[in-house]
């Protein structure tokens, strides 16, 4: 299968001489959710800004949907890769929600019928019916975040990039983001998450790429990456609390990495049903 996004040996050097990403290879396929982890300044955002052509590689090649990003216009690429910024205020500026939702589609010069159809779909999926005439700045921060996501969803790009989607969100907001990521995947989108939120990745148990000092140092399933203590320490990452607890429970399978509360409970239940004899550590 052809990857939808293909990053080949890409290096980016900013005009001040700083190398932000170095020799990156990465293939992202249809329907994948990929989390990009790493400390502040490790190159996560620089990497992802190459997907929609906001940045061009200094060296190497990136193709998105078969198009070489170096040669394509940003307007074309942004119809393929939608970017939801960390701070919704950075992408919200129109007087009401409905105009905000229409804006991206209008920019892409869609017909009025198509715009209406897409906006209606986004309104339905995000349950924004009651907010259409509100000024986005009168909404609370989680609602504003949803408007920002809905306006990107309306463009219907194949790839949706979420930059730190759960930052500053309360528990309910975080659960909602988790639900939305799954919904994006269900609707056939590729989701790229830039995040520090280990709970979110634990719940998604998705593919996880770790950046460290401008280089890609790990790329695998979350449970494998979280189990790799060397990589986690190197990148200054901590697994969710439940993962650490599971490690110290002697009656769980020590070869498995547990990422969620449910998976721990499930294993305990299976153990009892199978009548496994439990030996305590002395």
């Amino acid at each position: 299968m052809e990857p939808y996004i293909s990053v080949r040996d890409v290096t980016h050097v900013y005009s001040n001489g700083v190398t932000a990403i170095k020799d990156i290879d990465l293939d992202i396929y249809d329907n994948e959710a990929v989390a990009i982890l790493g400390s502040n300044g490790s190159g996560k955002t620089t990497l992802v800004k190459h997907f929609n052509g906001l940045l061009k590689p200094t060296k190497g090649k990136i193709t998105v949907g078969g198009l070489n990003t170096r040669k394509e216009r940003i307007s074309k690429l942004s119809s393929l890769v939608g970017y939801v910024f960390q701070n919704p205020n950075h992408q919200t500026f129109l007087p009401n929600v409905i105009q905000e939702l229409e804006y991206g589609c209008k920019n892409l010069r869609m017909s009025e019928e198509e715009i209406e159809e897409r906006v209606n779909k986004a309104v339905e999926l995000f349950e924004l019916e009651n907010y259409l005439n509100e000024n986005p700045f009168d909404l609370n921060s989680s609602q504003r975040k949803e408007v920002a996501m809905a306006s990107i969803m309306a463009i219907s790009p194949r790839v949706i990039v979420l930059d730190e989607p759960t930052t500053g969100q309360d528990h309910k907001g975080c659960q909602r983001i988790l639900h939305l990521v799954r919904m994006f995947q269900k609707h056939g989108h590729i989701v790229v998450l830039i995040t520090h939120d280990m709970h979110l990745i634990g719940e998604l148990n998705c593919r996880t790429v770790v950046m460290h000092q401008s280089e890609k140092v790990a790329d695998g399933h979350a449970e494998d990456v979280f189990a790799d203590k060397r990589i986690m320490d190197l990148a200054g990452l901590q697994p969710p609390q439940i993962t650490s607890l599971a490690h110290s429970l002697p009656f769980l399978n020590s070869n498995k990495t547990y990422l969620t509360i449910d998976s721990v409970l499930q294993s305990m239940k299976v153990n009892t049903e199978e009548g496994v004899k439990i030996v305590t550590r002395t």
Binding site: D170, H171, M198, Q241, L245, F251, L265
Partner: protein, 286 residues
């Protein structure tokens, strides 16, 4: 003075923003002792930041509205003094360090608040060094604040406040922009302040860290105080938290679900070590 036994004492506090119909805070009562860390948690819009700003007088002196009730800091009536005076006692660190950094070098950044307080020049150098030492940034004096990582910038923001030698440090979601290492750095600074006898208030959504570092927790929802007490007791009230769309640390949630599924009643601990011991014990018995 009767009130000076406590670092912070809040009684009957209510606040109404101008033009608002509903009070942002309603009848809040709590107190914090010297050397204690209080965590304030609650859903978005609960009034956490408003409450924090009542403690240094930013509310209602700068952010105006109708305030009722009393706030005493070190026995001083906050709403009788002014914010500038209070800043000698209460330091405030915001969510985004960039919003609070303004100078060309790290040294000047820390000096800025001192200059505003009128600290004599000969005392400044010592206080700057001491503050940078406390947050682990000694040796960075001549660098630009903008050349620091997010975690370092937040520690610099804390140092700038520390140099003013407040007894109370309030941090409003100081770690939400930071990577896990940066988050630990901030909490470790908070813990070391506690060891210096300072009082801390931290607002955060990450309940695992709140449970680990805070002595007491105040739960706010829609302007009302829902719970206030020692962290372990508050997080053990897990049904109340769930009703408020909140959650307890993951290990506490696990113990709770274990109890429900197995009709057990094990203690709802917040620490990994204790939870592991409890589960090991309970699981083997069953």
């Amino acid at each position: 003075m009767l009130k000076n036994q406590r670092a912070i004492e809040v009684s009957g506090l209510s606040f109404l923003f101008p033009d608002a119909e509903v009070k942002a805070l309603r009848n809040i009562n709590f107190s914090v002792d010297y050397g204690e860390i209080l965590g304030i948690i609650g859903p978005t819009g609960a009034g956490k930041s408003t409450l924090a700003m009542c403690i240094n007088g930013l509310v209602p002196q700068v952010i105006q509205g109708e305030l009722e009730g009393k706030v005493y800091v070190k026995g001083l009536d906050v709403h009788k003094g002014n914010v500038a005076k209070m800043s000698e006692h209460v330091g405030f660190v915001f969510q985004e360090p960039e919003n609070q950094l303004s100078q060309m070098t790290i040294e000047e950044e820390v000096a800025f608040g001192l200059g505003n307080l009128g600290v004599p020049r000969e005392q400044m150098e010592g206080r700057i060094k001491e503050a940078l030492q406390q947050v682990g940034l000694l040796g960075f004096e001549k660098r630009s604040p903008l050349a620091l990582s997010g975690g370092q910038q937040q520690r610099l923001a804390i140092a700038s406040v520390l140099a003013m030698k407040p007894t109370i440090m309030i941090m409003d979601e100081p770690t939400s922009m930071l990577d896990p290492k940066g988050k630990n750095e901030v909490y470790d600074v908070l813990r070391s302040l506690k060891e210096h006898g300072m009082t801390g208030i931290i607002i955060d959504h990450e309940v695992e860290r709140i449970a680990e570092y805070c002595d007491k927790v105040l739960v706010l929802n829609e302007g009302e105080e829902q719970m206030f007490g020692p962290s372990a007791e508050v997080f053990a009230q897990i049904d109340t938290l769930h009703q408020l769309t909140m959650h307890a640390p993951q290990v506490t949630e696990l113990l709770h679900q274990y109890n429900q599924k197995n009709k057990q009643d094990v203690k709802l601990s917040t620490s990994i070590e204790e939870a592991a011991a409890i589960l090991e014990n309970a699981y083997i018995k069953s």
